[in-house]
């Protein structure tokens, strides 16, 4: 059973990678993750909110994150996600790969 690949978004794999990166900040629920992606990218990257959930399910099934029900700030029940040690390893691997790819693209485009 291979790791689930995300359906086409920005660049293949980037949504998963960003979710993992954001979760290095601690326990977060889905809405917070979406908010953070938007804020951190200066509103440049807008995740279609719905597509976050298939991504979260995929990450969880792969054992990279773990979900747990808890109370949100607004006192509602929400599902909080947390990075696992497997997830951290996967994030590092993905980051390195991503750096290589973007570096290569940048060289071709003459940015560097």
């Amino acid at each position: 059973m291979g790791a689930e690949k995300p359906k086409a978004d920005l660049l293949p794999g980037t949504l998963d990678m960003m979710v993992l990166k954001i979760l290095t900040r601690g326990h977060l629920h889905g809405y917070a993750i979406a908010q953070l992606i938007q804020q951190l990218s200066d509103d440049l990257l807008r995740v279609e909110e719905g597509s976050l959930y298939p991504a979260l399910a995929r990450l969880e099934l792969n054992g990279w994150i773990e979900g747990e029900w808890g109370q949100s700030a607004s006192n509602r029940r929400a599902r909080f996600y947390q990075l696992t040690s497997d997830g951290r390893k996967h994030l590092n691997a993905e980051t390195a790969r991503y750096r290589q790819v973007t570096g290569a693209v940048a060289r071709i485009m003459g940015f560097a």
């Binding site: 059973m1 689930e4 629920h29 889905g30 719905g50 597509s51 099934l61 054992g63 029940r77």
Partner: protein, 875 residues
Amino acid sequence: MRFGARWKRFRLRLRYWARHSERHRLLWKEMEFHIQSMADDLAASGMSEQEARAAARRKFGDMTRRSEETRATWIAQWISDAGLDLKHSFRGMRRDAGFTTFVILIAGLGIGASSTVFSVVNALLLRPLPFRDPARLVWIANQEWDTQVSQFLDLRSRNKSFSDMAGFAGIAEGGTQLTGSGEAERLTNAPVTQNFFRLLGVQPAMGRSFTAEECQGKFGSPSAVVLSYGFWQRRFASDPGVLGSKLTLNNKPVTVVGVLPASFDFASIFSPGTPVDLFVPWPLTDETNRHGNTMKAIGRLRPGATAQTAQSEFTLIAKQLDIEHPERNGVKPKLTPLQRHVNGRVSAALMVLVCAVGVVMLIVCANLSNLQLARLGTRQKEMAMRTALGAGRFRLLRQMLTECVTLSCCGAALGLILAVAGTRAIAHLNTFNIPLLASVRLDGVALGFTLLAAVLTGILFGLLPALQIRSFAVGEVLKDGSRGSTGKRHGWLRSALVVSEIAFACALLVSAGLLMRSFLRVLDVNPGFRPEGVAALRVDPSFRFSGLAQQNSYIDEVLRRIRALPGVRAAGMTEFLPLGGDRSWQVTGKGQVYPKDRHPEAYMRVVTDGYFEAAGIRLLAGRVFTERDRASSEPVVIVNETLARTLWPGQNALGQMVTQDGGRRVVGVVADVRHEALESAGGSEMYRPMRQTGDYSAMNLVVRTEIPPQQLAAGIRGALRPIDPNLPVREFQTLQALVDKAVSPRRFLVVLLAGFAGFALLLASVGTYAVISHSVNQRVQEIGIRMALGASATDVQGRVLLHTLGLALIGLALGMAVSRVLTGVLGSMLFDIRPGDPVTFIGIGALLIGVGALAGYIPARRASRIDPMAALRAS
């Protein structure tokens, strides 16, 4: 990826799947929370609460799709879809009851036939023989015949290939008389060597096998006997008390020492068609050695040895033996693995059956495919609607396949019922001399096969229509209001299916036709005797003759009384009935010398006067035996045409002397009798008068009557009772029954194949009719226009008929070409018919054209009655 991680992931998935409805609910809650939070934020920035909620929902996107997508990452999806498809299938089946019934019926018949044939093949070819380590057992024949005891002993002691060798001698059908308690009865025994059961790995169900001492006595008077399970059940009602008791066999007390297990059916393997009741010891002594070539031998290979290595070793040993012992009968060992020896005779015929049933299944699939395509036309809108509602192409394809597999599985349920009935019927054909037939049954393997056949059938007949889904352009179909059909697109496909059905049916019909004609030719063969109106009955007396005088007065008395009965035209006695049994002698004319391995052999028959007339064997020259050919008169002999030609080519055989049996003068020449099989010439035969010898193993009374043989039975019994009140009179046998048994394997093949061919023809004609009829329905409008423009009803009818015949002709041409190639394979099974027999080919061609014309005529008539006005108005 590491195994541990994979396993963890799999477990997670499994957990998700097991509780997928709960997960689904939670996922939905999670997404609700997301939307609520978004709405809260939007409301905080000044939107009204309602607006904020709506905006949040818009922004989130399609919740159902997201949840579906999420769920798809669990395994749950596939399975819940399958459940849904299944529900759809059953709903569809209820809606379309006619179609469903037809499909289930056809698939059921096809699958039933396949499972039955598979069960037969499984029992006869695939399943190992019911012995310990059967692959190591080898059949050791002496050319095609039996081996002499001394040769067997030397072969056994000198070879290094076999850990042991065992054997059995000729089975004398009805050769043992059981008297004493209960009704007197004639039993069939098989003499076996002491180690026979041990070699095969058969343990008696009760008691024991023979001891070494029991195997030292005289062959004719055994001291111990082992019962077959069937006989023990039938005669002794499975009473365990029979063990150790004494039976009176041929007037001598014999102890029952064992009962064999039910799983050991000697007859079905070694003597198909002749059930064996008892086993007696076969002593390997000088006495049995003098019986000549009487033993059939089996060896168990040592580890490492194979039948081939053993063969070369045996050839060498046999050469040495022939040099060392010129006084013995020659031996030319021919070794075959036991399994091949047992089923070799039938395996070719079985392969034909397997191919035939495979072709039938292909026709079934083509037919169902066609139906499904036609139905798809009418269901196009349903499919288009589903596509419009978001069903993917793959999803629809899967749904179609699920439908087809469900249908064929329902068919398989029907097929199983048929197969159970079929295998039962086949297993009870115990008068057929086909080995292992009794062990035909529907077992686990056959069930697995049936399931596989059902699924494959469903996929095969569903795939073609399912792939057609691609061609739906949603908009077009939904726009086109009236016509629920796919028009010409599937036309050629359906025609191609019909053509292939006709071609397959043609190949099957031609094969069946050729075999059927061979069968008729075999029945037409002149066997050298006339079996009609001839009855036979064993009449060996219950006492032992003290000498030739007593024997001859018994013979005289029996024949006199029988000939006096009304309706009897001729009566005589013989040792072996035609097609019944055999023994052969080496013969020479006086003064002739032949090299040892070229010695003429003749089948030896011991008969009385009246036998030739009763059996209808033609006298060609000289005279037949008379009552005067007695011990006191000159020893005489009658030879058949072949022997006369062999010993005295170009000379008159009458008056010549043969050297055997103290020298005998030839007094008559009779026609050849096909004694072994109807298909093969009988070879040399020599007849000795029974009144001049005591050397025979059975007395068969043969009676030619003018009245039905069965009506004569009581009269004959009445006539014999005063001579010997203890005479067991088993059921009458007619010579016709012997002929029927001899042709039974051929009949078996022909009947099954003809059945398959008939079914194929039916399917092909139904398929043709369905396609033509459908195409007429589609072209109602076009036909209407043609008629409105002046085409006559005859024109229209002719057109449709021509179309049908065109399809039939293409199919026929293909089928004929294929058959011409395939029937070459039948070669060995054909008799007196060439594989390219023109009568068969032309006959089948005419039959198929006729059926095609009929299948086209009905829709053609309907087409010609179309009312142009109504047709045009309807559109």
